[in-house]
Symmetry: C2
Subunit: 418 residues, 2 copies
């Protein structure tokens, strides 16, 4: 039998899964404060939906898992949640917009197997569908700031607008060729990662002359705080949209937004503001999103300007260390007493505490080792001696300290300290 999962897929242990669930819970709670509701769409989809003209595009479709059912229908596994959101909107034409929804679910990419390349992963998307106003963008930025503060991560929210990038290209004299523009934007996006020199080299390879490249850098390398960047950029191009969004963010006292004129985000379907949350410690991307006014509109044939965000659950997990390795608070060890004596105590403790207990009548040292190996913080030990005086023995598995307590005292003590 297989002893390893498929490359690009992964088993999550309790320790990892508890952390993932805590992260998801934190994000959900913030989203619900902001008026979002959950939906769920199927993983299994008609291939014709996944390959829709205005869907994820050529590149992503190459990585779409295809399969057939017994009726020989062509099916596929969804590669992201926006295409299935579009299908959802089609199936539910009476939804009132703006529609704030979030969805958490698995998506699949049939990419080449490299060490770090994942082929099945959890996507967590939140979008406001059918809103043109910048208040929509502001809501998403506020959510990001609140989520990552709650998670206790050092972060910044890098903000830009796709329209800024196109204007910079125009300013540099790079005209109408949209394919060229998009490919240049992808190069510019790498500035923070690979540095100016490498970006310049790649731009030269794309046929840009020194003059054009300099004009690009003149604008994307403007340094300073957000006001300074807006002021300098504003001398050459129209920064009205970003200015408005920054003004709104100040009303809400958002502190973590940093304008980055080179930020591009790969996906061509963004039409306005774009943002990416970076961990300051690891320089990794934890969440990303932006405004996409056309994609859903084309797919659903209705005017549905939208703005949203996707959270990288595994990226966030990987920078958060958890202290909590088990949901279990107490492991109960009966010593030589019968079920009718200890089961009522189990029941009583479980009214307020997460408890596992020895089912197999092992010896006490084996039981203590079990609790210890499973990172359970307390053991409750009960033998004849304890029963006689109506008490239990509570053992702290870290300090090895033992206390003789009544049941009520033990419950209070555990709830106070764990």
């Amino acid at each position: 039998m297989e002893t390893e999962t498929l490359k690009g897929t992964k088993n999550y242990t309790p320790e990892e899964q508890i952390l993932r669930e805590d992260i998801i819970k934190t994000i959900k709670e913030v989203l619900e404060r902001y008026g979002f509701n959950p939906i769920e769409t199927p993983i299994l989809q008609p291939y014709s939906l996944l390959s829709s003209k205005y869907g994820g595009g050529e590149e992503i479709l190459k990585e779409c898992y295809k399969l057939k059912d017994q009726g020989n229908r062509e099916l596929g596994l969804r590669y992201e949640l926006t295409i299935t959101l579009a299908q959802y909107l089609n199936e539910n034409p009476n939804i009132k917009i703006p529609f704030r929804r979030y969805e958490i679910g698995k998506v699949f990419r049939d990419g080449p197997i490299k060490k770090s390349r994942v082929r099945e992963f959890t996507q967590f998307d939140a979008d406001i569908i059918g809103i043109k106003s910048k208040l929509g963008d502001l809501e998403i930025l506020s959510i990001l700031e609140e989520v990552f503060k709650k998670l206790g991560i050092d972060f910044e929210i890098m903000l830009n607008d796709r329209k800024i990038l196109f204007q910079i290209l125009e300013y540099a004299g790079i005209g109408d060729d949209q394919n060229l523009q998009n490919s240049i934007i992808l190069v510019i996006d790498k500035l923070e990662k690979i540095g100016r020199e490498c970006v310049e080299k790649e731009l030269i390879q794309k046929g840009l002359d020194k003059n054009k490249i300099n004009k690009i850098f003149e604008l994307i390398e403007i340094k300073g705080n957000n006001e300074k960047i807006l002021e300098e950029l504003g001398k050459k191009i129209d920064v009205g949209d970003l200015e408005e969004l920054i003004k709104l963010s100040k009303i809400c006292k958002l502190e973590k937004i940093k304008l980055v004129p080179s930020l591009a985000r790969g996906l061509a379907y963004y039409t306005g503001s774009i943002f990416e949350v970076f961990s300051e410690k690891t320089k990794s991307s934890l969440a990303g999103g932006g405004r996409f006014d056309e994609m859903l509109s084309k797919l659903v044939k209705k005017d549905l300007p939208s703005v949203g965000i996707g959270f990288g659950i595994d990226a966030i997990s990987s920078i958060l260390k958890t202290e909590k390795k088990s949901n279990v608070q107490v492991y109960l060890v009966p010593v030589g007493i019968s079920e009718d004596k200890f089961l009522p105590i189990v029941k009583k403790l479980r009214e307020s505490i997460n408890l596992d207990f020895d089912l197999s009548g092992r010896g006490i040292s084996k039981n203590l080792e079990f609790a210890s190996r499973n990172n359970i913080p307390y053991c409750v030990i009960i033998g004849e001696k304890e029963l006689k005086v109506g008490k239990i023995k509570l053992k702290n598995m870290n300090t090895r300290e033992e206390r003789i307590l009544s049941l009520e005292e033990a419950i209070k003590f555990i709830k106070k300290t764990y």
Copy 2:
């Protein structure tokens, strides 16, 4: 573009999804009280794993979705969570047993498309792995009783033991042919649904004579409370295991267990106690499980007697009506006031209340209609008049009643009533 999901798959609306998530949360909380931790295994698996000799068996394998990746590897979508649990145990050989884990995830069956046949659904399994003692069975029964009481459902837990069924067949003189025995057990299992007459007919078709059939019914139709059934059954066959489990369940004051000697549960891999939670109102099955001492042992090549349960999230959803159609508690409507006036109020309210607000500057009646159509219980309306006196207008969307309140009063009021 597709306007319907694939047959056998389903979109869940916020109303449905909120209910599903509430149910899942209730079950998780009970499981964690009982010392269970979550794991997650991949959906995408090597086909060789899914078709393992001791896996789900021929029938289920026929319904396994097969696919290939770009490297031409043979893959499949998991059809249940036990086979991936076995892989997990193989990958993590140092797990301390007994191992209490739960997993929630999508599973897939490529069955014929019938109206009610689902091909993608959420499985919620909880198992104790590596425990021979009946205390394990007792834990699962206690969990079932607690979960369904918490969910507020009228239910009973039907209990039997596979060994009882085999003994009944022996008593009726139906000997060693295991295939015949299993097929008879499948017929007997239908007694509660189709009645004695239909079961008799099917048994005759299987070649059983009147005498044998009568002996079967003599035992499976014993009526009365659990004690009576054990007493009567005990005169003909060995009921020791069930007796012990019933004794333990009494120590824990379980009230919902009903012995049903005809209960069989289809799956041949059960080796001991089997149980099924039935809704008294709809007579539908809401959860089912039992003891399976051999399956994991064979797959993992280690002695891993186990007992567990699977919850039918959709079956449970379908009998629970929810009052709560949105997570949003308040919809805020600014009337002719600027962002710097209402955004701080939004922020303040969101410290304790789930709030959506008008992003698009619509008129008040459109906004009230929006809130109403989205089942949001309260609107907060703020115009110049309210701002001047430092108050807000709170409108109950059910009663249409309006109150002029300070922000603090409004928060208190909403939290008290919703």
